[in-house]
Amino acid sequence: MSEVVAPEKEAAVKVAVMNQLPGQEPRAESPLHHADLETVAKKGPKQGGVYLQELKLLGHLVLRGSVDNAEFMSGAEKVLGVALPSALQSAEAGDLSVRWISPDEWLVIVPGAKAFKLERELRDAMGGHFAIVNVSGGQTVLTLSGPNAEEVLKKTTPYDVHPSNFPVGKVITSTFSKTQAVIRRTGDESFELVIRRSFADYAWLWLQDACAEYGLVVRG
């Protein structure tokens, strides 16, 4: 069963927090588990205009607090190793990345096994009025790359994804076909999408259709 740390067990923890990673049972399944992308990758083409990969079962933490709360801002910087980025910016430190979502909200993504420890360290380092929510099970990360990745996004979102408006490191939340996604440019030809679990299948179906004309290569 998942590990629960109650305030009475650990002095530094002010609220009960739970490790959402299951032990042996039940088995964790990513939002695109049913699509079996491993098999799709093995059987599908190896060359094409767009490459798609799910970065599954990562640890997703939503941080909320005011930029005027010094204990929140400095605590986050101390633990994350980077300052919470300003509007529409993202930051990275090793295998950790943090995205601005709204004026009082950031999304931190780390390897799945590190999320619980990170949450406790953040709670320990922060003060004042703030919130940390582990939303790992509620969303997943897709990477979209290749020479035609930008073309696919142009069909998918009304946001201007031209590099002059959407440079590397910029992150936006926008309409993604008929759903919504957090979209970040990670390179000249590479993007990261954070999509909701309940819309993951829709996004997968949409991307297969939208990428078809360029040749879609799924990576396992």
């Binding site: 979502i101 709204s102 009304p158 309409t175 919504q180």
Partner: protein, 95 residues
């Protein structure tokens, strides 16, 4: 294409990302128990139906999900200004 400036994202975004959320500056009565039925009904149901300048509440629904205010001309759809909740409009009908 119709762009709206989000004061929280600090850039213009496509209208598709936004939702209108009714008239702005509707203050909830501080002591609802002390309201007459007419006062309460006025707060709940009655809105101005301006022809011309109108102050509205909007939400950046698929973006930052924050609410903000907008002064808009209901005849031309021209957006005169956007401003954050808690701030007062600069463009008003009596100017």
């Amino acid at each position: 294409m119709h762009y709206i400036y989000c004061p929280h994202c600090e850039e213009y975004r496509e209208e598709e990302e936004f939702h209108a959320a009714g008239e702005a500056h509707i203050a909830r009565p501080l002591d609802p128990e002390a309201c007459t039925d007419a006062e309460w009904a006025d707060f709940l149901y009655f809105r101005t139906n301006s022809r011309g300048l109108h102050h509205e509440l909007w939400v950046h629904a698929t973006g930052c999900r924050k609410f903000f205010n907008m002064t808009r001309d209901t005849v031309t759809y021209e957006i005169k200004e956007v401003y954050k909740v808690g701030e007062q409009p600069q463009v008003t009908a009596d100017q």
